[in-house]
Amino acid sequence: MKPAPFEYHAPSSLEEVLNLKHRFADDAKVLAGGQSLVPAMNFRVVQPGVLIDLNRVAELSYIREEGDVIRVGAMSRERHLEFDPAIAKRVPLLHEATPFIAHPQIRNRGTIGGSIVNADPAAELPVLMLALNARLKAKNISRERWINAQDFFAGMFTTALEPDEILVEIELPFMPARTGWSFMEVAPRAGDYALMGVASLVTLSDDRKCENVKFVYLNAGDGPVDAKEAADIMAGEEVNDQLIDVAAEHASEKEITPFGNVHTSPEFQRHLAKVLTKKAVKQAIQRAGEAR
């Protein structure tokens, strides 16, 4: 269980990183926090010829408010997201969900950009990016472009990034007014990969109708699954338990496609999705009611 040999580069500026990525493209893997890549290399599931280590690129690590968004550098550690006061205030869904990502020892190293680009369907951050309508800034040697989270995840461990691009920044819009949130998951052991999880957001109108609803699931398909039809069932309606049941039923039976694994069957995952959806949406609605 030792990694195969590779050529190592540890540049200290983004410009050097982009030059290296331009030169090596798909032959090079980018090392962010390494909490998924290094295990894969230890098992030799992944054997990159070249490793470009981002850990010395200080300019990729920041969290700052700007207008009505928060800008997060791709190399910001998950542990920093967890304790950032601006994120807690402006994007409370992310603040609440971050402690569900593995263990503190992992979050001390793991980065927001690394988890997003790894695009593991069982990971929390891709789900949160979709739920929060994040925009992701990709850069190569000659240009930069913004990709909406909805267009970023292209399947199992696959993203819209080109071989010469890297993710440099995550733009998180402030959560709108009268919006409640909830993040729930079930894992065999705290910090393990969850069997099922859901992020939910509900925006209530002044007359307490659902203005906007969002359900996004982890470990429920080959990427984060945005259950749009279930959300549509609730949109514009007055909240009641029956409506919630119908939406939860639809999302868990019709919109997610869990595969099952050694710990769980797809049927049990659907069951969990249904139960978690009901609980999460109720918590989100309650919080939306409390928010001014």
Partner: protein, 158 residues
């Protein structure tokens, strides 16, 4: 053609300079290059927690980092906790007194997890202690005595 990189790392307040291959894991560097075998290696994919060290004061898995990444950084391993065998760190002393270990394989990783935890949370509840331990597997104790040891340590460290 093997790439070899010179690194300087401060481990337990002592500076070491070594030539390493980029693929050398930090856990193996500590054990094989520096002879600091207190850091244990279990699963080598970040699940068991046996290799946990402090990297710039924060707990981290040494099996999920390369030694080259530690160049210029400060590391504390379990060997850095006690001055000598008669002057254990209060956390170690508590593990001794409360029977917080049996075979001891997981113990160094647990200690290196708990030092930053107790610094951040000096009066933890049992729930918080169990949560803090969730990233470290112990296959002997059933955790009860470990939890007792952490409670005792929190008392001693007040």
């Amino acid at each position: 053609m093997t790439q070899s990189i010179s690194i300087t790392v401060t481990v337990n307040e002592k500076e070491y300079t070594r030539e390493v291959e980029p693929r050398l894991l930090l856990s193996d560097f500590l054990r094989h290059e520096l002879g600091l075998t207190g850091t244990h290696v279990g699963c080598e994919h970040g699940v068991c927690g046996a290799c946990t060290i402090m990297f710039d004061g924060e707990s981290a898995r040494s099996c999920l980092m390369f030694a080259v990444q530690a160049d210029g950084h400060k590391i504390t391993t379990v060997e850095g906790l006690a001055k000598d065998k008669d002057n254990l760190h209060p956390l170690q002393q508590s593990f001794w007194e409360a029977h917080g270990l049996q075979c001891g394989y997981c113990t160094p990783g647990i200690l290196m997890t708990l030092i930053p935890f107790l610094k951040q949370n000096p009066n933890p509840t049992e729930d918080e202690i169990r949560h803090a331990l969730s990233g470290n597997l112990c296959r002997c104790t059933g955790y009860q005595h470990i939890v007792d040891a952490v409670k005792l340590a929190a008392e001693k460290m007040k």
